[in-house]
Amino acid sequence: MKRILTITVAGVAMTLCFPAHAAPKGDGRPDGGILNYSEYGRPATLDPITSNETISLRITELVFNGLVGIDEKQEIVPELAERWEASKDGRVYTFFLRKDVKWHPREGDAPRPFTADDVVFTYNIMMHPKTITPLKVRYEFIEKVEKTGDYTVAITLKRPILNALAKFSFKIIPKHGPANPQYLTREDRFAHSPIGTGPYMLQTVTGDGEVVLVANPDYFKGRAHIDKFIARPFADQNIMAQALMFNAIDMIVLVNPRNLPEVQGDKRFVLQPYNALSYSFFGYNVRNPLLADRRVRRAITAAVNRQEMLDSFFNGQGTVISGPFAPGSWAYNLDVKPLPFGPEGARALLTEAGFRPGADGIMEKGGKKLVLSLKVPIEKESEAVKRVVLAFQNYLKNAGIAITVEFKEWQAWKEDVFLEHNFDIMFASWVFDDSADISSLFHSAEIGDWKNNFGGYSNPEVDGLIVESKLTLDHEKRRTINRKLHAILAEEQPYTFLWTLTNYSAYHRKVRRVQIHPYKFFSFADEWFIPASEQK
C-alpha cells in the first residue's frame, strides 16, 4: 500500500464544455471476461473519502464518478455534470447534472437516482470535522455547495482560484450511502461496501482479501465491457511477476523495473508505458546553516551521478530532470539542463563555500564537519528507494560529505519532516494531480506545520513569481513565468531533482484497448475489453 504524496493541482484555462455524449456502448466490442490484477497488500477502505492508498484509488476510480473527469489529454470532460457555468467573478460555479444516473443498487433495493442532494451531501460529509480524510485540505477554498434545483448545484468559492474546475473531479457518494449522514469514519459500513455511480460495482471482498468488482449494467456511459475486475492482494512484489507468468493474474498496474526484462521477453504480455506526473527528489532543510548555502546544495547535486543510478536501478526507464515541474507538463522548461555530474566541480563548490577536507576525508568548515542526516520513509516494497538512498550516501562520501541515513516508519517520518522539521535531507517523490502548481512547495507562506514547504525555503523572487503565475490567466504568459521559475529553482537547488520514471503496466495480450491514467489508473477501464475467444 504505497502512500502517495500529492500536491494540490493548479489549473488550466477554463473552458465552456458541451454535454457529454451518454449513449450505450454500441461500439461492437464484446462484453465479458474477467480481469485479475495484482495489488500489494489489502486496501484499508474502499470509499473515496477516507481512503488514502493507491489501491483504494484504483478501486474508487472504477466505482465512483466525479462531477467532471479528466481525459487522456489532461482536459476536463463532463461526467456526472452535463455542463457547467462559472460566474463572472469566478467565485460561483453552477453544475447541471445528468438526469439519467442511477446509484448502484443495494441488495433488495431498487436503484436510486443521482441528484443534486448527493453532491451537497458529499461535500458536507467530506468537510465535517469528524470525517478524517486527506481531501479536506484540498477543498478549503470552497465556501459552500448549494442545491439550486433537483439537478443543479452551485458551488461558491471563498476566492477565485486557477483551474478550480479540475478540482471538482472529486468522487460523489450517495446520500443514502453512509449509515451516519453527518460524517464518515472508517467504521462506517459504507467504507467497506460502497455504492457509487461508476462502471463497476463492488460485489464482494473475499476472505483472503480479494476485491471483486462487477460491471454496472446501468452505467450511464454504457455497460463496461469486461465483466469483472478482481484485485488480488500480494505480500511480495517479486511474486507478482511470477503470478503474471502463471496466469494467476492478468495485469500488473505498476511493474517493478527489476521485472521488466522478464515480462518484456514474454510474447503473451504487453508492456505499456504510461507517463506519470511525478518525480523524485532529495529535499533540503535550509534551516540548517550548512544547507542554507546554495553552493553546498549545488555541490551535493553535482556529486551525485543521477544518470548512473537511473540506468542501474531502473533499467534507464526514466528521465533525469532539472527543475520542479513534472516533465510531462507544459510548465517544464526543457531549456534548463540538469546539473552535470562532476565530483571535481562539487569539491570546487565546497571549497568555494569555505570547506576544507578534514583528516578523515570529510569536508569541514570552522571545525564543523559536513555531516548531514538523511531521513527516508520505510516502504518495504521499495527496494529501489533503498538503493537510491544508499547510492546517494555513497556518492556524497566520495565528495567528502558524510550522510547518516535513517529509515523511518512512514508516520514517524512525516512527523519528522513536516512537523518537527528535524532533518537535513529527506527523500520523497511528488505525484502531481494534474499540472504545475508548485506554489505550495516553494512559497515562503507555505512554511509551517504540516505544510509542503517543509525545507523552509524562502526566496522573495520565487515568491513573487509564484504569485504572479497564480494571478495570470494568460496561459502563454504563465508559461513564461513558470519557465523562469524553473530556471531559478534549478539554479537554487532547494531540492536535488532526480528523475521522472516511466511507469509500465504489464498485462495479458487478451486485454485490449488498455489505457492507463497517469495517476488515477483505471479512469478509462470501461472501454477495455477482452475478445470473446479469449474470455475462457
Partner: protein, 320 residues
C-alpha cells in the same frame, strides 16, 4: 472413560478455566500497559497531513471514543472486550473480532497443520531412537532435524517458492490465486510444510519425545509389564507417548504462531501473522491488541487441552 475419571477431569477443567481467565486478564493488562507507556499517538495514522495537536484532532479523538485517562481507556476497552467487542481497526475501521475470526481460521490451519506435520516426522524418529538406542539411522535423522531447525524459515520459504515455480512449474501461493487454480490443495500444503519443517521445533520435539519415552521405558512399571509378558507399548503409551506429545504440542503453539508471522508474509497467507505485521507497521493498536489476546487465548487453549488430557489419563493429577 469411566465416570470416575470424568469427575476429576471436569473439576480440573473448571480450575484450569479459572486460571486461563485469570491469565487472559493478565495478558490484557500487559498489552494495555505496553501500549499505554508507548510514546506518540496511534491516531496520527489517520490524520494524514493534519496536525494531531489541532483542535480538529481532539474532535477525532471524540469521534473514536477515546477517553483521556488510562483507566478510563482500559475500563472502556475491557468492558467492551467482555461483550465481544474488541474495537475497530484504526486502519480499516472494521471491527477487530470478526476480522480476527476470519483470519484466525487461516492461522489455525497453518499452525495446527504444521504441528501435525512436525509430529508426523518427529514421532517415528523419536520412537525409534527411544526403542533402539542410538543407531546410525536415527542419529542421522536427529542431526538432520537439528539442521532443519536452524534453517531461517523465511529463506526456506523462498527456496520452496523457487522450487515450485522453476522445477515443478507451479505457482505455490494461496490467497486468491491458488483457490481457482489446479492443485490448489497442494499450494495449501506448501506453507504448512515450510512452517512444519523449519520452524525450529522439530529437533526439540524429537528430543523431548525421545527423552520422555526413554525415561518411561526405564520405569519400573514397564519392567513389570515386560515381566508379565504384556505388550510394552500398551503400558508405555499414556505416559511415554500421549502425555509428552500433548505437552510438546501445547508448548510449541506459541513458537508456531510466531513462525506463522513470517511464513504468512512469504506465502501471502491471509492469516493473523500478516495482520499483525500490518498492524505493527500502522500502529493499529486495536488490531495488535486483539491479535495478542487471541494468540494468547490460542496458547492457553492448547495448554488447557493438554491439562485435560493429562488429567484424563493420569489419576494422580486429579488428586493434586
Amino acid at each position: 472413560m469411566k465416570l470416575a475419571a470424568i469427575k476429576p477431569v471436569s473439576r480440573v477443567l473448571a480450575r484450569e478455566l479459572g486460571i486461563t481467565a485469570l491469565l487472559l486478564f493478565g495478558v490484557s493488562m500487559v498489552v494495555f500497559a505496553i501500549l499505554y507507556l508507548a510514546p506518540g499517538d496511534p491516531l496520527n495514522v489517520l490524520l494524514e497531513g493534519q496536525s494531531p495537536r489541532s483542535e480538529l484532532a481532539l474532535g477525532m479523538r471524540e469521534a473514536l471514543g477515546v477517553s483521556q485517562t488510562w483507566y478510563g481507556q482500559y475500563a472502556a476497552w475491557f468492558s467492551k472486550m467482555l461483550q465481544g467487542n474488541f474495537g475497530n481497526s484504526i486502519r480499516t475501521g472494521l471491527p477487530v473480532l470478526p476480522e480476527l475470526a476470519r483470519v484466525g481460521v487461516y492461522t489455525l490451519t497453518l499452525t495446527l497443520g504444521s504441528l501435525a506435520l512436525t509430529l508426523l516426522i518427529a514421532v517415528p524418529i523419536a520412537v525409534h531412537a527411544a526403542a533402539h538406542g542410538e543407531t546410525a539411522g536415527n542419529t542421522a535423522a536427529t542431526i538432520a532435524a537439528y539442521v532443519l531447525s536452524a534453517v531461517p524459515v523465511f529463506w526456506f520459504g523462498y527456496i520452496m517458492v523457487y522450487v515450485f515455480i522453476h522445477w515443478f512449474g507451479m505457482f505455490p501461493l494461496i490467497s486468491g490465486t491458488a483457490a481457482r487454480q489446479e492443485h490448489a490443495w497442494l499450494y495449501f500444503l506448501v506453507p504448512i510444510f515450510v512452517l512444519g519443517i523449519a520452524s525450529g521445533t522439530l529437533s526439540e520435539m524429537i528430543r523431548h519425545l525421545r527423552e520422555e519415552l526413554s525415561r518411561v521405558l526405564a520405569e519400573d512399571y514397564i519392567r513389570t509389564a515386560r515381566a508379565k509378558g504384556a505388550p510394552v507399548w500398551r503400558h508405555a503409551f499414556k505416559e511415554g507417548f500421549l502425555i509428552p506429545v500433548t505437552e510438546i504440542m501445547s508448548a510449541k503453539i506459541p513458537f508456531l504462531l510466531g513462525g506463522a508471522v513470517i511464513v504468512e508474509q512469504v506465502f501471502n497467507w491471509p492469516g493473523m501473522g500478516r495482520m499483525a505485521w500490518q498492524a505493527a507497521q500502522d500502529r493499529d493498536f486495536p488490531v495488535i491488541m486483539g491479535i495478542a489476546l487471541v494468540a494468547a487465548a490460542f496458547v492457553r487453549l492448547g495448554n488447557l487441552l493438554q491439562r485435560v488430557v493429562f488429567t484424563a489419563v493420569n489419576p494422580r493429577a486429579s488428586r493434586e
